[in-house]
Every structure is written in C-alpha cells, then in structure tokens.
Amino acid sequence: MPQVNGIALVVFVLLFGFITWLGFAAARWRRGDLDQLHEWGLGGRRFGTVVTWFLVGGDIYTAYTFIAVPALAFGAGAVAFFAVPYTILIYPLLFLIFPRLWNVCHKHGYITAADFVRGRFGNRWLALAVTITGIIATLPYIALQLLGIQVVVGALGVTGTGIAADLPLIIAFAVLAAFTYSSGLRAPASIAIVKDTLIYIATFAIVIVVPIKLGGFGKIFAAVPAQKLLLAVPGAHTTGAYGSYATLALGSALALFLYPHSMTAILSASSGKAIRRNAAILPGYSFMLGLLAMVGLFVIAAGIADMPDYAWGFKTFKNNFAVPALILHLFPSWFVGVAFAAIAIGALVPAAIMSIAIANLYTRNIHREFINRNPTNKQESQMAKTVSLIAKLGALIFIIFVPTKYAIQLQLLGGIWIIQTLPAVLLGAYTRWFNDWALLVGWAVGTLAGTAMAYASNLATTYTIAFAGYSFPGYSALYTVVLNLLLVIVLTPVFNALGGGRKPIDETVPADYAA
C-alpha cells in the first residue's frame, strides 16, 4: 500500500479549495439572469476570444485525455500519437463550419445541436435522435473524468476500504455539482483559466526536467523498443497500421465537435470571429498534448513499471498510472501536488460542461418538445439545473459501482454513435438538400452497423474491412459514417418522391448563417 504524501496532499487540497471558491464566485462574473437557460447554460454567449480559448481548451483536452493518451503511448507506443493528427484536423473544421453554426444558433436562440436540427429540418424525431445520441455518448465521458480524479487521489496515497475509498471522489463530485448548479457555465469557464495555467506549467516542467534527469531525448528514445517507436510498416495487400492511424485521426476529429459539450463551449463564444481566431490559437493545446504523448514513452525509458513502489498503482489503475508514477518518481512533493491538482481540476471543467450540455439537451429537446411545450424561463433553467445534478450523480454511481473497463468501452462506442449525427448537424449547416427521414434512416443504420463492428472486433477501436483480397483496418466510426452518408444521399430522392414533394419548413434562411 502507498504512503500518504503529506506536502503533495496539502498543496493539492489548497488548490482544490481555491477553485471551489472560484466556482461559486463565478456566478457574479459578467453577471446575467441565471434564471434564463442561455445565461445558465451558455454563459449568456458573452465569452470573447481569450475566455473561449481557455473554455474550449479545458473542455476538449480533458483530464482523461491527459491520462489516457500517455497511457496508450506507454502501452502501445507510436500509435498513441494519432492524437496529434487528430487535433490538427479539428481546427479547419472549427474554422469553416462553426462560425456558420454559431450565427444561425445566435439568430434563432438555439442552445443545442438538436435545436438547430429541429429548426433546420423540421422533424422532431430526427432532433430526438440527435438528442439521445448526445446524452448517451456523453454520460460515460463524465464517468471517465471522475476516473481521472480517482487515479491522482490514489497516487497521492489516499486510500481506504469500502465507502472511505470513494469518499474523495464523492467530495469532488459534491463540489462540482454545487458550483455547476449555482453558477452554470460561468463556473467551468473561470476554473478553466486556473486549470490550464497549471496544466501548461506542469507539462512543460515534465518535458524539460525528465529528459535532463534521464540523460537526454536520445537516450530516452533509444530505450523504447523498436516496435513501439514507429508505426508498423504495412505488409502486402493491406493498409495496416497506416490505415488505422489516419482513420482514427480523421474519425476522431469529425466526431469531436458533435459532442454536446464541445457544442456548448463553442456556442458560448461571443461571436463567429472569436471562434475563427480560436481555430488558430487552440493548437497550443494540441502541441501540449503531443508533448504529453511523448511523456508516455519517457515512462518506458525510466523503467518505472518494474519498481515495487509503484506496483500497487499499476495493478489498480493499469497503464493510466504511468504519468502519475513518473511525476511521483522524479519530482519534489510540492510539484506533485500542483501537477495532480491540475489533473483533478482538469477533470472538473469538462465534467461540469458535459453535465450542462446534457441538461440543455434534456430541457430543450426532450422536456420542452415532448412534455411541457410552454415552460417559463425560470422553469426551464430550473429543470436544466436539476438535470445537471442527475447526470453527474449517474456518472458517480457508474464509476463507483461499475468496473472501469465498461466506462472506457462505452466511451469508445460513444464516439461511434455521436459521429452518426454528422450529416444532420455539420452538413446541415451548409445544405438543406437532405430529406429528414433519410437522415434518420442513415443515423439508425450507421449506429447499428458501428455497434455491430465494435462487437465483432471485440470492442477494439478499429475494424478490418476485407475486400477483393485486400484488408483495410480502420476506425469503425469513420467507416460507418460514410455508410450513413451514402444511404442519406441515395434515400433523399426516394423519400422526397414518396412524400410527393412535401417538405417540412426550414425556419432558417441563408442570411442567418452569415455574420
């Protein structure tokens, strides 16, 4: 069993206390009427370029990312670096598509992707499909954020049995739930600024100090086994590891901004211009993520996995313990406290935004659409606050009672599911050509095919398509969204003909998409 690291724990608790205060104080920041859903759930759409940078950065580069990407590099090597092309590819998409979406959402008061789809295609069932997909894909993601907290709390040496083992997590959850409830999106926005500052400091310190202690990058990379250092060169008749690498990057990039929490953070920007500027400055986070992926290889070189001190952590948290172990091994206690606090706080920011995004979806696209069509502003924001609590409670129960591997597998499936909303949401920002029922059929078939592929490949991320003697291993999300889109294109004229040219009303006009 590990020893409690006293100094690290004190620093950790102090920083955590500070952001708790900040989360509550945030309610008064750029003050708005929190009884209105767009104030509580989108921060009043008032965040400029800089705050948006911190908010989107804190939102999409989550604590889980910072733990899982180096863990994958530690376990599997070069393939983990797909996170770098992935985060390169997201910014052209952000630049081209999201200012348009922001404009139309601002114009019509939409606060979720499903709001937009409802208005654009006039089909409540299609909007419901987008809503449910968003909620189900996000829930396991919140659970994984709590896992990030679990790993660092364990690494601090705070352990126990029974309910005591989960107490730190329950406290963190209570803090998170309370400030999200009272401050809405303003809480994660203000905390993100602190959290990202800590993450940047910790990452650069690790990337500079560790190579010095281990004798330079040359020595580190020489210690990495050859099969982990580079991607395996594909044999004849297959696209091999290259195909997996490129499709994972592209598929993940296409899926990212369809997640409700990405949409929430982007829609809270104050203008399309703030979004375009962010496409140029957000890669700062990608660079940091790339450095952290390399840190996974540092752990191999440091030979930490074989040290008895850390056997407990690796046994409990598997490869996710790689980075915490490296930090514990090579850094003074006060720095351990700062770095671990950065990871734990880094879990709260996306978890808060995700629960707000789920709350917005439920309130707008299920409750208002199907249960109470004319809520007052106050009822609507009260409903959202309550749902945000339920979403987090669900995630907490999940991570305490369900084995971690299921949360990871569900998050993987979530990526396959959420990408199926791409034709309606992202392409819908450009065209109304698609038939709404064709979109719904494409979504259903893509979702089923993706789930089937995931199970056929034993819940691995990639599925191998065999065709004419060639094999193409690749990310099932990408394969199935192509299938989805082809189906939508084929079925659109068919359904239009069946419907006798009758088309639901598009409440948006082309001018709504321009600044």
Binding site: F95, Y245, K273, R276
Partner: protein, 73 residues
C-alpha cells in the same frame, strides 16, 4: 452539394486560401510520409518532432487563412 432550391448561398464566399487547409490534411493523413526515425532533432525521432512541428505549421496556416479572409466575412 446544392443548397435549398438549388441556389447556393451567396454569403459564404470561397477563398483560395482555404487550400492551405487541404495541404494540412493531406500531409498529416499520409503516415508513410513521416513514419521514420531519421533525421532526429535533439535526439527526438522524425515521427515525433515532425508531427509536433506540423501542429505549429497548421496553426500558422489557420492564422493566415483568418487574416486573408477576414475582409470578406
């Protein structure tokens, strides 16, 4: 893809600068191009430092596109 009623929206103008995004995509989605250890930089294999460098290059490309298309938006 045709817009509603077959009339393309006149508001979103095409700019040749967007081709920088295509360059960005093609290079990074072609792993054979960078899946090698040599040349190293400060002891870091090409595979790693090239992709990190490409993050910065892409950011510069995006900034260029932003500045060059700002007027027409």
């Amino acid at each position: 893809m045709p817009a509603e009623n077959g009339a393309p929206s006149k508001r979103s103008r095409w700019s040749w600068w967007y081709l920088l995004f295509v360059v960005q995509f093609l290079v990074i989605l072609w792993p054979p191009f960078y899946n090698k250890a040599e040349p190293t930089l400060l002891g870091i294999p090409f595979f790693y430092w090239f992709q990190l460098l490409w993050v910065l290059v892409s950011a510069v490309f995006t900034a260029v596109v932003y500045l060059m298309t700002r007027k027409s938006q």
